[in-house]
């Protein structure tokens, strides 16, 4: 197993180089001119202004030269400077990644717990009202577009009922806790700001629920199918025959095996949400990687686009590895090689 992990870890930089190269050439050859977001539409007709901006951002060099320069800088940990924020891309990503991770972790918790519970209930009470309701909730979760559910829930819970806050990570009127880890909930606790912690959690509930709902849809359907499969196995009948309680049969005997395929999906879902929570981040003005990616793409902010691609690629590669390892732990019959 150790050799397997080391081999996989060694392959990650090579795979990332491939991802970076593809992202570099696709972004640079896409139709459109990034200068418009740097100097504005009016000055695009001014050759002096265009030449000055190109020279300043290294866009006056040939594409191979730009590629070599980028890789040289990347080797030193320099991801370039964002055309839009004018800050190093690495700084932007480090600032925004905790916001996304905080949202995604909360969404994964909500989605996986609710999905597992619903999946178990649906399998245990197959073809009953409980099963139908659970499947309906799952179907709604996986098929409802986030931009719709987000806006509707925002309207109901924030505008109509006033129970939950509007978009953003923190009340705009207040001062957020001093950034230590970038996770507002953790930073609030570290600085002893209990009210700040409440604020951070309060703002997290709605976007995490909206995002978690889609996770729940995927998980519950998968758990239900796996549980149905497992519950018909002989060893479950044997467990019941030995007098094991229903809860014990479900959780200890059935769920353990039913969770194996779910772990794979959870791993990939986590990685996907790192850069895939775009709509949720946009609707809830959540300053994470997803909204950064959208802005970068719309403005053809090459360094930012490639930076986000590196984060997304790394998330997939690492989560894939973690899933494989978790898989082996969850099912001792599997051996990684």
């Amino acid at each position: 197993m150790t050799r397997y992990i080391v081999r996989r870890l060694i392959s990650i930089p090579l795979l990332l180089l491939g991802i970076v190269s593809i992202a570099f050439f696709i972004s640079h050859t896409t139709q459109g001119d990034p200068l418009i977001s740097i100097i504005g539409d009016r000055q695009m007709d001014n050759p002096d202004a265009v030449a000055a901006a190109k020279a300043r951002w290294g866009l006056d060099k040939s594409l191979p030269e730009q590629y070599v320069t980028y890789l040289q800088n990347l080797a030193t940990g320099d991801l370039g400077t964002s055309f839009r924020t004018k800050q190093p891309v690495a700084t932007d990503l480090l600032t925004r990644l905790p916001a996304t991770l905080e949202l995604v972790i909360a969404a994964m918790l909500i989605g996986s717990i609710a999905g597992i519970v619903l999946g178990i209930l649906a399998a245990r009470f197959r073809d009953t009202v409980i099963d139908h309701l659970a499947r309906l909730a799952a179907l709604a979760g996986s098929s409802t577009p986030v931009f719709w559910s987000g806006l509707i829930l925002l309207y109901i819970f924030s505008v109509v009922l006033g129970w939950l806050p509007g978009p953003g990570r923190f009340d705009a009127r207040a001062i957020a806790p001093q950034s230590i880890t970038g996770f507002l909930t953790i930073d609030a606790l570290l600085t002893g700001d209990i009210r700040g912690f409440g604020q951070a959690v309060y703002h997290l509930v709605l976007p995490a629920t909206v995002l978690g709902w889609t996770v729940m849809g995927i998980v519950s359907r998968l758990v239900r199918a796996s549980m149905l499969d497992v519950l018909s196995q002989d060893y479950i009948v044997a467990a019941r025959a030995r007098g094991a309680g229903e809860l014990r049969v479900l959780l200890n005997h059935a769920l353990r095996n039913a969770l194996v395929p779910t772990l794979t999906i959870l791993g990939f879902t986590f990685a996907y949400l790192i850069t895939g929570a775009v709509l949720t981040e946009t609707i809830f003005a959540w300053p994470g990687i997803g909204s950064y990616a959208v802005d970068a793409t719309r403005n053809l902010d090459y360094p930012a686009i490639i930076g986000v691609t590196i984060v997304g690629g790394s998330a997939f590669l690492i989560s894939n590895l973690m899933t494989d390892i978790a898989y082996a732990f969850a099912d001792p019959r599997l051996r990684l090689s």
Binding site: Q43, N46, A52, K86, Q87, I113, Y202, P287, F329
Partner: protein
């Protein structure tokens, strides 16, 4: 026998359950009370489109707000959106041919660090704006030299007459910067500043102005935070802390106002404004100086040759201007005769555009296109000033079908649109314009068919110069040297010339919705500066 993986899963399950409970309990048990939000920052909900906070590189609508409130210009624009008023300059005078201007600075004006605003700062700021070659550097194109006569007197000499120079100086991008502080942080104003200057990243987090507010923090994609400048004494500041909060769309801005999470929003479209029900919110619709227009490019590589003068005239007559206003902004807009906004110099008495299908068909017949033709319409796929560009172009497609022009719609990203306009041209497209300051010359210099002007280039003037209008250049030179009394007449001639060119056909000037909590007052639309925050107060 329990395996270690089994225990792992159970531990994970326990941990997950505990976290879920903590989240639930935390969210509801620790809800901040209403009192926590009181006497705090005023929140402006806005789609933040900042490209830079460097005064010499900034170029966007939010940048206008930022610049206007953090950096003071020499001259201000009064609430009537027409009259020039003193700001850093207490008085000014021009020579006879309007090519030299002398400004006397307010001796009491101070930057936020307490140092006085002096003539050297004015000279430095203007020179940097020119030499950085950023978004607004063209505003200094006519400047030949700037001389600091003494600490409080500045003389600006232009390369030729420019009767609109004083108006240009109301544009927020000409705001004056504390040269000492900026230089200490890498700013350069001399020629070569475009490559030598290293101050932009510093300006993204710091300000060095004498305006009513100073920058506290800018978090891209999240918020722009201001606090009142203690050294500012020109007016009494009503709100000490202001936050512009990233709120991308019109509907969410309205929701934020209704729920009390925001105090001001200026990007709510008229249709959404009608849905605001909360008694605590006021939504006033006012005319704006922004407009959207159809642009025809006879020099475009594909389809340009079809756009003869008669065909362009026919297209102008085929458009249903009233219908466009109803269709795109629910009637909350105005028709606009020429590519100069209503209310700007030279627009009084211009005839409103009207649909005349019979005449349009006659012109198509005269041009030899009675059976029409196909035309590509590539336009930026965006929502601007409350107008969905897709809807607007669908309406144009319907209207032109009535004179047998079959329009093929191609929505594209703005950067792609810009690239295409520059390289091969687009025969039929739509775009938008907002003023940089109160004055009509900026429109002639942008839309007039004068060689090397922006829209002369975009319409393909280098491939087919037949639509160049020599009269426009001549009239522009006259108006730039004209006295205040003569200016209106010349601008009217220029407006008529641009109407007759039929290259730029304005279709709608959307109204602006000024939405704010009823406890907030002083929110108004400024032609130069978008929103003056020092005029806002809150009960």
């Amino acid at each position: 026998m329990k395996t270690s993986s089994n225990r792992g899963i159970r531990r994970l399950a326990d941990l997950s359950l505990a976290s879920a409970i903590a989240l639930g309990v935390g969210a509801f048990a620790l809800l901040p009370g209403k009192a926590a939000a009181e006497d705090s920052a005023l929140v402006i909900a806005r789609d933040i489109d900042i490209n830079s906070l460097d005064p010499s590189r900034a170029w966007c609508d939010t940048c206008q707000i930022y610049m206007s409130n953090v950096y003071e210009t020499l001259i201000g624009l009064d609430k009537d959106n027409k009259t020039l008023k003193p700001r850093l300059a207490t008085k000014w005078e021009a020579n006879a041919d309007q090519s030299q201007f002398t400004f006397s600075l307010d001796p009491d004006a101070k930057f936020s660090d307490g140092t006085p605003v002096e003539a050297k700062d004015v000279k430095w700021s203007m020179e940097r704006l020119e030499n950085i070659k950023g978004g607004a550097s063209y505003m200094m194109d006519s400047v030949k030299s700037i001389e600091a006569k003494d600490a409080h007197t500045v003389v600006v000499t232009l390369s030729g007459p420019n009767s609109e120079f004083l108006n240009i100086l109301t544009a927020p991008y000409t705001g004056i910067v504390n040269s000492k502080v900026a230089t200490e942080n890498g700013a350069v104003a001399t020629p070569g500043a475009d490559t030598a200057d290293k101050a932009e990243s510093w300006f993204m987090q710091h300000s060095a102005g004498s305006g009513a507010y100073e920058l506290v923090d800018y978090k891209p994609g999240e918020e722009l935070r201001f606090k009142a400048n203690p050294a500012y004494k020109r007016t009494k500041i009503g709100v000490a802390n202001i936050v512009i909060k990233e709120t991308k769309d019109s509907v969410t801005q309205a929701q934020q106002l209704e729920s009390g999470n925001a105090d001001v929003a200026m990007q709510i479209d008229p249709d959404t404004a009608k849905t605001i029900k909360a008694d605590s919110v006021s939504a006033e619709t006012v005319p704006s100086y922004n407009f959207l227009y159809v642009a025809l490019s006879p020099g475009a590589k594909e389809g340009g040759k079809l756009l003869t003068k008669d065909v362009r005239e026919a297209i102008g007559l085929a458009l249903d201007y009233d219908g466009i206003i109803d269709f795109t902004v629910g009637g909350a807009g105005s028709k606009i005769a020429s590519p100069i906004p209503n209310g700007f110099p030279g627009t009084a008495g211009l005839p409103e555009p009207k649909q005349d299908l019979e005449k349009a068909k006659e012109l198509m017949k005269k041009a030899g296109y009675a059976d029409g033709f196909e035309l590509n319409d590539a336009f930026p796929n965006m929502n601007v000033y409350g107008v969905d560009m897709s809807l607007l172009n669908q309406k144009i497609q319907q209207d032109l079908a009535k004179i047998n022009i079959k329009v093929k719609l191609t929505p594209i990203e703005f950067s792609v649109w810009r690239d295409r306009v520059k390289s091969e041209g687009i025969a039929l497209t739509t775009l938008f314009f907002a003023p940089d300051y109160y004055g009509s010359a900026q429109y002639v210099e942008y839309f007039g068919m004068i060689k090397d002007n922006p829209w002369w280039n975009r319409a393909g003037g280098k491939r087919d110069a037949s639509f160049t209008n020599p009269q426009t250049d001549a009239t522009l030179q006259k108006v730039l040297a004209a006295s205040e009394v003569e200016k209106d007449g010349f601008y009217k001639q220029l407006a008529e010339q641009m109407i007759s060119d039929r290259i730029i056909i304005p279709v709608v000037s959307p109204n602006l919705v000024l939405a704010h909590g009823k406890n907030v007052s002083g929110v108004r639309y400024s032609a130069c500066c978008n929103l003056m925050m020092d005029e806002i107060s809150r009960q």
